[in-house]
Structures are given as structure tokens and as C-alpha cells.
Amino acid sequence: MSAVEEIVTEAPAVEAVPKRAMTLGYGTSLVVLAALILIPLFVKNFIIFQMTMLLIYALAVMALNILTGGSGQFSLGQSAFYAVGAYTSAILMEHAGMNYALTLPVAGIVCFGFGFLFGQPALRLSGVYLALATFALATAMPQLLKLGYFEHWTGGVQGLVVTKPDAPFGLPMGQDMWLYYFTLAVGIAIYIASVNLLRSRSGRAFMAIRDNEIAASAMGVDVALYKTLAFGVSAGITGVAGGLGAIAVQFVAPDGYTIQLAISLFLGMVVGGVGWLPGSIVGSAFIIFVPNIAEGISKGLSGAVFGVLLFLVIFLVPHGARQVAIVAQQLAAKLKKN
């Protein structure tokens, strides 16, 4: 074992998060859920659309969170899984005339397979090397989507236009609102499933690997299987998010899924708090709204303003939204005592 490798394997980059701290209490969960259900009734369609995007990116951030926060593996290649999911949905809807809701599980399964297969060679890598390998995947994806060989299905550089679904059963709501509630339902289902996954035997295996690979294998955890499984689950959820994204945006094109997206998702995870699933929605809000705020402050220097804001967040609350939540909880407890 070389010196470099020792350093990489010895110092776990991801801090151990106890599994109970990975979720929210019931009370808080219900309040957040109520807000998510009620707000769209009172706002404009445009805000509803933004909230839909918020949920979709939150799902993608959460998928990365399961991988990094759960099993301790890095990925800068989430945009590739997102793209595969988006294209799977779009192609099935437009070329095969499939119902949009049915395309999502297909997108999830395709991406699960893709992620699981990618996880095989990735097993040999860890830490920053794994991050680089996934980075390569993200850079390659837009070009693969442009390939002339697939052009008949993908639409090549021109992309594919997707039809937005109407509300079913004659429900009296607009397309945007229906899509929002549809996304919310899918999102909640996946959230609950993820929480249960992390609390299950598999989840404990993920976390054991994250905390110490050698100890985990000594305990009888099949390290190789669970590592690839984590990749597969993460890719599958990202794929569903990608499919939802394609339906909400009504368009897929290679330029929408560049490395920029992967970095945004990574950023969202860090801002939300690594390993804290509810933080995903905070991270998602950060990557959607903060660039807009930065642009509002200065158009020419929007990138620099965004950088400053990001720096402030990392400097003041290095553990992201999770840290804020813990501080708030402690304050609340103090108030109760008094």
C-alpha cells in the first residue's frame, strides 16, 4: 500500500452521522409537509413551477446524500444519471407514447442498472480517485448524447420536446399544479423509502462501510456488493428525478446535463448537510434561488457574488442546514426548560 493510499483510506472524508440524526422528528416533518401541500394553492403558476424544480433537485441531492452521507462514496457524476433518467422518460413518452407516470419507474430501473454497473469498476477506487472517475462520466455524457448513432432517438444536439401532462380524472387544476402534486407524491414516497432503507440492515451496512471498511468486512458485510448497491440506489433515484425534470421542463438537450449540474448537486448536498436527508431540500433551494439572488445583486459579477455567498455559508455553517437545525433544536429545548 502506497503512502498516498493510506492517507486516503485512513482519514474518512465524511464524518460519521448517527442514523437517527439523519431524519426529522414527526412533528417537524408534518409541518414541512403541510407547508409543501398548502403553499401552491396560494401562489402563481411560475412559483409552483419553481417549487416543482425545487422538489426535483431535492430528490437528486438526496440521492447523492445516500451515496456520500450513507456509504461514504463520492460522486461528481450525478448529472450523467440525471441525464439518462431524463432521456429515458423523454424517449419513452415521445417515441413510444408511454404514459408519463409509467416512464418514471423505467427511468429509475435503467439508472439503477447503469449505476450498479458503473459501481463495479468504481470499487477499485476510493475518495478523490472515485470522484475523478465519476467526473469523467459527467464530462462524457453530453457528448454521448450527441452521438450520431443515437440521434434518431435522442434528437441529437437539438434535443427532444416533451409534452406536459394534463391533470387526470378531470381534476380542476392546471398542468403546473398537477405536476407539482405528482412530484410531491413521488418525492415523499422516495423519501420514506430512503429513510427506511438507511434504517434497515442494508443501511447499517452502508454506514459501517462509510465508517470503516475493514471493520465492516470483518463483521461480515459484503463490501463490494453494498458499495455497488449504494451506487445503484443513488443512480436510480437520480434517474427518477431526471425523468420528473424532463417532464417539468418539457425539454431535454445535452447542454442541460453538463458537469455544471453535477457540481450544483454536490454543492446542494454540502449546503444541506452531508448525511442529513431533510437538508436536501435546503440544498436544492440554495442551488435554485441563490444564483437568482446573485444575479439580482450584480449581473456582471453574478458568479463572483455566488462564490462569496457560498463561501459565507461554508465558513459560518460548515455542516450546512443540519448545523442550523441542531442549533435551533437546542435553543428550543432551552426555552422549554426556562
Binding site: K44, N45, F46, I47, F49, Q50, M53, Q143, K146, G156, V157, Q158, G159, V161, G245, V249, Q250, F251, V252, A253, P254, D255, G256, T258, Q260, L261, P291, E295, K299, G300, S302, G303
Partner: protein, 409 residues
């Protein structure tokens, strides 16, 4: 009673007169969301950040131009409010920004949004909402499709018609040519290539002896040029953006390869392409133009060029005058002002599309002499004329007639 009756008669006559004089003007002042007696709200989406951020200067120039229009009294007394957002050239962000402009800022129309993928992403939405997507800043051919997309209109001569012009020239002047093509691997490069092959028709397969593409992310294209030279071609069609065009011209000279060189007009700028590549290396290159290159000395005393310089001095002094995008934005802004003026007091979205589709021989300052803007209900390609140019000494020499190559989407 007669007196009363008389008064009643006079009153009703006055009333009728009043109605006659006021009602037409009341009927004429029609507004859709985004327009009022004092204001016209225009939306725009530009890549101010990201890979295509060099084009952000178009948005800045337009903003400066509308400030000039407002300072001079506005359009029929109405001031332009120009709201421009950044989409970083990513389609999902474009959709978000377009929806923000239409639903939250409530603009009358979206003007000159940039890029083929971003505009493709919002085309369906804009047409569903029936909001004009006017004079989009892309040369793709698909924007000229009034039957499918009556709310979307292009602006500049499209890529396909340009390469058709080159193809026709080759067929006429060098029918036995062996052609090598280098193109950027994206929608822009492929559109050019398609037009070129269509233009050559059945002879395309036998005439094109080498085809090579590069990615925007490549640092240099030298190896591609070497490969193309090895094919033994005597005609070179160079479909590249400015940085790569300069590299290609230089590399050709280094390799001592002197084919008949066609350069797409995207990279026709003397300041940012020819000069860096070296004047001596660029002699006899053929390209095409539809507006005046501000770095070309032959326009130094031209009236339109003087007006352009005055506008920049006053409203956008920090602009890089060698950048063709500044001139591009200046011309397209005049186009929008022309349409809005023609709308008069009927600022409905329908009337805007109607006026935009009935431009006759309009010549905004900055176009080459003889090039005119023309549209109709079935022709949504405002600019479709080009003139061939050949590089001689330190400037482009125009030759031949003004050519047109209209292609529908």
C-alpha cells in the same frame, strides 16, 4: 318646447360628434399584459455566465440601446423597460427564466433570447402562451416555421442558407473540387454541414473527400487540420467559431496548405479572427457578410458606422468595438424598435407578430448596402441576404451580387 327640442338636438349632435372623435382612438389604444400608456416591458435571456458568456455582450448592448431610445423620448411616448436574465446557456434554466419573465414580470414579449438549445426549450411554452418569441439570436434554420410556431421568429440569415451559397459558388466555379470540411460538433456546425451537402446535392458524396469535427472544449484543432490536409483536398470549408477559425488559418499557413478556403461568417471578424491569425495568412479567403465589420477600415467614414460609434461613446463606452456581437445587437435592437413603432397604439401580442411579419425593405443602420429586412406571413426569416467577400490586403472585398438563400424550417 321647440327650444328644448333644439337643445336636445344640439346636445345629441354634440354627443355624436364627441363619440365620433373619441371612439376611434379609444378603440386603437389596445394593450396586452406588459404594455401601457407609459411603458413597454421587454424580456430577454442571455448567457451572462457559463460556457457561452462571451455572447452576454449582446444583452448589454441592447440594454444600452434601449436606454438611448428612452432618453430620446421612447417609442410613441412609451418607455422601454428591458429585463434581461442569465440562463448560463442551460435549457432548464432558460425555461425557468422565460416563465419568470412571462408570468412574474409580465413582459409583453421575449426578444432576442440567445442560443439554439435554450430557444428550443422555450419555443413550445411561448407558443402555448401566445407570447412573441421575437428575433431569436440563433442562426438555426428551424425558426422560420410560421405554420407550426406562429409566435416564434428568427432574425439573422440562417446557417443553411449561408452554406448553400458557398456550395453554389463551388459548383459554378470549381465543379471538380475535392472538399475538406471541418465543423464544430454541435447544432451550429451540423446545421452548416447539412446546408452545404444540400447545396451540393447529388455531388456531395463524391466532392467531399474529408469531414472532421472538433469539440468546443478542445484547446487546439491543429491535428484536425493536419488530417484534412492529408486528404489531398483543394477546397476547405471552415465551420468554426472565432478562436478556432484563427487557429485553422494559421495552421494552414504553417503547413503550407493553400486550398480555396471558405470561412463561415460567424468568424468573419477582422479584429478577433483575421488579425490574430495574420493578414498574410488570410489572403483570398472567401466568406460572406450581411453587416459591416466595425474593424474594417473601409467603413471608417460610413454614416451608419459614425452613428454606431456615437451611440457607444455615449451609452456603452466600455464596449469592445472589435466584437461583432456589439454591432449585431445594435442592428437587432433597431429591428425591435421598428416593429414597436409600427404597432402604434395597438400593443397587443397579436399585432406585434402581425407587424413583425410585415416588414418591407427595412434597412437598419449597420447592414451592408443592399441588404434589407423582409418578412411576410409565410416568411419568418427577416434577414436572408448575404454578400460574398474575399480577403485582400487588410480588408474584406465584396464581390458579386447580394445573394439570398431562403430555407424554411
Amino acid at each position: 318646447m321647440p327650444a328644448i327640442r333644439l337643445r336636445l338636438g344640439a346636445f345629441s349632435a354634440a354627443l355624436a360628434l364627441l363619440a365620433a372623435t373619441t371612439s376611434p382612438s379609444v378603440a386603437q389604444k389596445k394593450y396586452d399584459i406588459g404594455a401601457s400608456d407609459s411603458e413597454i416591458k421587454i424580456g430577454n435571456i442571455m448567457p451572462y455566465s457559463g460556457a457561452a458568456s462571451a455572447y452576454g455582450v449582446i444583452g448589454k448592448t441592447e440594454e444600452a440601446y434601449f436606454r438611448k431610445i428612452n432618453a430620446e423620448g421612447g417609442i410613441n411616448g412609451r418607455k422601454i423597460t428591458y429585463i434581461s436574465y442569465d440562463d448560463a446557456y442551460t435549457p432548464p434554466k432558460t425555461v425557468e427564466q422565460a416563465r419568470k419573465l412571462v408570468e412574474s414580470d409580465e413582459v409583453l414579449l421575449i426578444f432576442n433570447s440567445l442560443g439554439t438549445p435554450p430557444n428550443s426549450a422555450i419555443q413550445k411554452y411561448m407558443n402555448q402562451k401566445k407570447v412573441p418569441q421575437l428575433f431569436v439570436a440563433t442562426g438555426a434554420t428551424k425558426w422560420n416555421d410560421p405554420r407550426e410556431f406562429p409566435w416564434t421568429m428568427g432574425w439573422q440569415p440562417n446557417y443553411q442558407s449561408e452554406s448553400i451559397i458557398y456550395a453554389k459558388y463551388i459548383l459554378k466555379n470549381k465543379p471538380d473540387a475535392k472538399i475538406a470540411v471541418l465543423y464544430q460538433n454541435d447544432d451550429y456546425g451540423k446545421d452548416y454541414l447539412k446546408g452545404f451537402k444540400d447545396g451540393l446535392g447529388s455531388k456531395a458524396a463524391s466532392m467531399i473527400v474529408a469531414e472532421d469535427s472538433y469539440e468546443v472544449t478542445e484547446p487546439t484543432i491543429d491535428s484536425h487540420i493536419v488530417r484534412l490536409k492529408a486528404s489531398g483536398a483543394d477546397v476547405f470549408f471552415n465551420i468554426t467559431t472565432p478562436k478556432f477559425a484563427a487557429q485553422a488559418i494559421k495552421k494552414n499557413a504553417e503547413l503550407n496548405w493553400h486550398p480555396l478556403h471558405f470561412l463561415n461568417n460567424v468568424s468573419g471578424s477582422i479584429g478577433s479572427v483575421i488579425k490574430p491569425a495574420g493578414f498574410e495568412n488570410a489572403q483570398d479567403i472567401i466568406s460572406s457578410q450581411y453587416f459591416k465589420d466595425p474593424t474594417d477600415p473601409q467603413w471608417k467614414t460610413d454614416k451608419a458606422m459614425i452613428a454606431w460609434n456615437e451611440f457607444l461613446d455615449k451609452y456603452y463606452p466600455e464596449a469592445n468595438r472589435a466584437d461583432a456581437s456589439v454591432m449585431y445587437a445594435y442592428i437587432v435592437s433597431q429591428g425591435l424598435v421598428h416593429v414597436l413603432k409600427a404597432c402604434g397604439d395597438d400593443l397587443t401580442r397579436e399585432n406585434i407578430m402581425k407587424q413583425a411579419a410585415s416588414i418591407r425593405d427595412y434597412e437598419p443602420g449597420g447592414l451592408l448596402p443592399g441588404v434589407k429586412v423582409n418578412t411576410s406571413a409565410t416568411d419568418f426569416a427577416p434577414l436572408s441576404q448575404l454578400q460574398l467577400i474575399r480577403f485582400k490586403g487588410q480588408t474584406w472585398e465584396r464581390f458579386g451580387e447580394i445573394l439570398s438563400g431562403d430555407v424554411g424550417g
